[in-house]
Amino acid sequence: MYFRLGWRNIWRNPRRTLVIMTAVIIGVWSMIFLGSLMRGIADQMVRNGIATLTGHIQVHHNGYRNDPVIENSMTDPEAVETALKRSLPPDSRWSSRVRVNAIASNARHSSGVTLVGIDPQRETKISFIGGAVIQGRYMNPDSRNGIVVGKALVDKFKTKLGRKLVLMSRDTDGEIASRAFRIVGIFNAETEATEKRFVFVTLPAAQQMLKLEKGISEVSVTLSSQQEVHQVAHDLRAGLPSDKYEIHTWQELLPLVTAVLKMYDGFIYLWFLVVFIAMGFGIVNTILMAVFERIREFGLLNALGMKPGWIIREVLTESFFLLILGMLIGNSLGFLSFFALSGNGIDLSSLAAGMEYFGMSRVIYPIIQGKDVVMANLVVFILGLVVSLYPAVKAARFTPVEALAHT
């Protein structure tokens, strides 16, 4: 009967019920949908970070991270390969690289870049570059003079495919090494900064230019699951001498992204709270109005023997229905919005220049996490009932004589 009474009471004033339900619907929808956008942004940041030559784990010579000079290269890559073969799960991939700071120049322009010497076949499976070439071609493994550069750098240098680009860096002898490459491919990346920063040549070409012989700067590893990262990193640390090698996970390699991810968690829950506070005032106000309109009725219920606690339960039952209905519709709309945008995402190209400093993508794909949906609904449901207690207690405190005399 409580449910029957509560259900019928909320439809006594359909307009008021729809107003409060709309507030709950918008609140829940915004919590779920905007939460999914924030999760999408965070996920893209991680994916971009990992795909932009970071990987899940990297192996370096001890000290390279603090001072990425050519002297801190790994001169014995076979030892690292042996450890990788022993420690990595079967479906994981890895690639060796030479990575040094360099100056790129042509007849008119010059710019600081990161020269990356790669194994083209291995690299294509672990980072973005394999699928990012939009003009020309990806490098052949035996290419000696070919270079792949970003579109933004090409635009900046006002150059094009087939033109020369000279790279300068310091070799292992401490001398300035310089070599001319021919642009064979132009790549597109999620961020303009990546396009301007990285230039790719083959690993042997970079080793030859820098007199590294078999030396490499880093080994990047990608795993099939992020859950494996810490265990694999632990195994690698155990398998390689710590005085010669250092192993870092992506969380350590991308401290800004890691910090932003943590911040996003806080933001999402803060957002939930802000939305709820706005919604909570609406709920209290509307239920209070409903209670004051029915003072006489609450007096009657009390006169008939309904104890104050039961009257509180009755008012909370009405709130329960309003919240559940609002949550059902809000969740449905939230998921509909999510599905509508999950295919093509939201294109924020116009804001990309500012966003890319934070490693954000030009297109945001929303991601729904179960914990966010549960949290949004719990916040609305539990706090909704809690704020409804105020009007409910008011209703229970009307004395029958005063309430029955109320007109």
């Binding site: 009967m1 009657l300 039961w310």
Partner: protein, 229 residues
Amino acid sequence: MNIVECTNVKKIYQQDKLEVRALNDVSLSIKKGDFIAIAGPSGSGKTTLLNIIGGLDVADSGRVLVDGNVLSTMSQTELATLRLRKVGFVFQAYNLILVLSALENVEFVMLLQGVPSSERRERAKAILDDVGLSDMYDRRPAELSGGQQQRVAVARAIVSNPSIVLADEPTANLDSKTGASLLEMMEHMNEKKHVTFIFSTHDKMVMNYAHRLVSLRDGQVVDDQVHER
């Protein structure tokens, strides 16, 4: 055996700076099974006395005993329980729950008492049949006439077998024919179920039906007559 005992009951209302003595030293005993009318002009204290006997209001001084319970010592929750178990109310304005049907209104008090669903339904139907509303179980109050609503209110008041039914001007909004029919029905219930009925009224017809007539004036009992049945 007295089911209600009021001893030196006083009740004063404060209206702005004016003190209104609604009940002034009222003493009254009502026997179980009485069919009693409390009469008097407007402002004589009839409704206040009924409210105090029903535990809806509290006396400022004096002692009110209802079925062995001293009301002044009871909390709001205990008073609600007393009303639920021992007192039935019939109001002048019917006061049915608008969103419930006639049957559900009658069931409502039994629901609060924890009567099982099937028994509740059975008893509610039986009492609605008794008050002549056997074909109106599913009608909402808005779909019933005044007389029909008051019959539902009476059914609601007596269905849980209370010790006392307090009826505050039950015929005030009814025409004389409907009022007489309602009074006959209540008298029948009084005789059949031995429920004590206490009316507040200034309706002559109710006074004539009553087996005992207590007259109030300015908050005091000025007359107390037992009518021949």
